[in-house]
Symmetry: C2
Subunit: 259 residues, 2 copies
C-alpha cells in the first residue's frame, strides 16, 4: 500500500487575511501524512504593484506579466509570502522549506508562446524535479512551493499555482496516494455565486459539461476544473475544492470524481 500525500494549493485571498492565514497554517501543520503546500499571492502582489506605481495589467481577466510585474511577483511570492509561511510553520514544529521553481531545478518551464494574447513572462511547465521533492518528503521536510518557474536560461517565469499543484500531484501519484485540495475564498463550486450555501458537493465529468452549459461553471473555474479532471485521469486519488477549512473538514466542499 502506498503512503498518503496531501497537496494543498492556497490562493492569495486566504494568505491576505492574517487571522485566516494563521488558522490555515495551524491546520496544515496538523496534517499527519506527508504534505506539500503550493501558493500564489496575486492579491498581495497587486497591492505592492499599486504602491510601487506599477499598474497591474489584465487582458480578459488574465494577468499580463511584464518585467516589473515579474519582479514584484518574485518579491512577494518567493520572498514575503513564502518565508512568512515557512517561519510560521517552524513555530508550529512543522519543518518546512520554501522553494521557487528555480531552486534545485524544481520547475522548468517554457515561456508561453504568443497566440491571441501576449501573456509576457509566463511559463508553461515542461518538467518538475520529482526526485528532489520526494527526498525532502521522505525526510519529513514539508515543501512550500511558490508559483514561479524558470526556463533554464536564467529567466524566472510567473506560473499558475493550480497547474503547479496538479503537476506535482500527478507526478507523485506513482509513489503516493495523493489527495489534492484547492483552497480559495469560497466553500466550493456554487450553483448561485451569491449564495454561499449552494455548494455542489460532487461533480463528475458528465455533470461538468452540463454545468458549463447552464453557466454555473464559468470563466476562471473552467480551466481550474479541467485541470482537476486531467489530474484524476492521471492517477490522483482525491480532489477537493473549498475554503481554507477543507484541510481538516472535508464535508462542506466540492469533490471532483471521474464517474
Amino acid at each position: 500500500m502506498k503512503d498518503k500525500l496531501t497537496i494543498i494549493k492556497v490562493g492569495g485571498a486566504v494568505l491576505n487575511d492574517n487571522k485566516i492565514f494563521k488558522t490555515f497554517l495551524n491546520n496544515f501543520s496538523k496534517i499527519e501524512e506527508k504534505k506539500i503546500l503550493v501558493h500564489g499571492g496575486g492579491i498581495i502582489a497587486s497591492n505592492y504593484m499599486v504602491r510601487l506605481g506599477i499598474p497591474p495589467k489584465f487582458i480578459k481577466g488574465r494577468r499580463i506579466t511584464d518585467e516589473k510585474t515579474l519582479d514584484v511577483a518574485i518579491m512577494t511570492y518567493a520572498g514575503l509570502i513564502n518565508k512568512k509561511i515557512v517561519a510560521q510553520l517552524q513555530k508550529l514544529n512543522c519543518n518546512s522549506i520554501g522553494l521557487s521553481g528555480a531552486d534545485c531545478n524544481l520547475i522548468r518551464s517554457k515561456k508561453r508562446e504568443i497566440k491571441d494574447i501576449d501573456f509576457g513572462l509566463v511559463g508553461d511547465i515542461t518538467k518538475v524535479n520529482v526526485n528532489f521533492i520526494n527526498n525532502l518528503i521522505k525526510t519529513n521536510i514539508h515543501p512550500v512551493i511558490c508559483s514561479l518557474s524558470h526556463d533554464g536560461n536564467g529567466q524566472l517565469l510567473n506560473t499558475n499555482a493550480d497547474t503547479i499543484a496538479s503537476k506535482f500531484a500527478i507526478e507523485l501519484s506513482s509513489i503516493y496516494d495523493v489527495t489534492l485540495k484547492f483552497c480559495f475564498d469560497k466553500g466550493g463550486v456554487l450553483t448561485n455565486q451569491n449564495d454561499s450555501s449552494t455548494i455542489i458537493s460532487s461533480i463528475n465529468i458528465n455533470d461538468y459539461e452540463s454545468l458549463i452549459n447552464q453557466n454555473i461553471i464559468t470563466d476562471g473555474m473552467i480551466p481550474k476544473i479541467e485541470n482537476c479532471f486531467n489530474a484524476l485521469k492521471k492517477g490522483v486519488k482525491n480532489i477537493l475544492i473549498g475554503d481554507h477549512d477543507i484541510i481538516k473538514n472535508e464535508k462542506d466542499c466540492t469533490k471532483l470524481t471521474l464517474k
Copy 2:
C-alpha cells in the same frame, strides 16, 4: 585529508550592478570545490524602501529594522535577489538552492536585546543547521543563503550576512578545509580610502591593533575584521577580503592571518 569548501559572502554593491553580478556568478559557478554563497542586498532594499515611501532609518550608520523595513528585506533578500541568483546559476549548470534562515531551521536567532540602540527586528545567531547544509553540499547542491534568520516563534529577523558566512565557515571547519571570501566594492582593506591601489595584502592580529590606532581600519571594517579573526581562531583555514574578482584571482586582495 578534508575536502575543500569555499564560502563566498557578497554585498549589495556587487549585486546591484547587472554586469558585475553576471561576471561574479559566472566565476562562482566555476569554483570546482564545494561552495556556498551568502548574500545581503541592503542597497537594493533601500531603493525599494524609498519607492514604497518607507524612509530607511540608520543610527550611527547602522540600519534600524522596523516591521515595514523587514518586509522589504524579506522581499528583496529572500525573493528578488536570492531567486535571480539561483536562476542565473541554474543557467550556468550550477545546481543551487536559495534559502533563508527559516527554511529547514537553517539559522535560528534571538532578537537583539536593547542596550544603547534599539535595532528593531534584528537577530543574533544562536544556532545553524549544519547537517542540512552539509547534506546539500554532499549531493553537489550549492546553497545560496540570504541574510535573514528566524526566532523559532514565527518571527523572521534581519541578520548580518558577514556573521552568517563566518558562522557557517566555523561550523563547517570540522568537516571541510574552509576558505572564506568577503566580496565587497573595494579591492581589499586600503591604507588610503581614496586610492584603490593601496590594498594591504596581509593583516595579522598584531597589524590589526596598529591599523586601528592609525585610523586605517575604522567604522564598519572593525567588526568585519574582528569577525574574521574570530573565524580563523575557530578553525577556518583562509580568509580573504576584496572585490568580486577574488573568486578567481587571489592576488589583489587582503588576506587575514593569525600570525
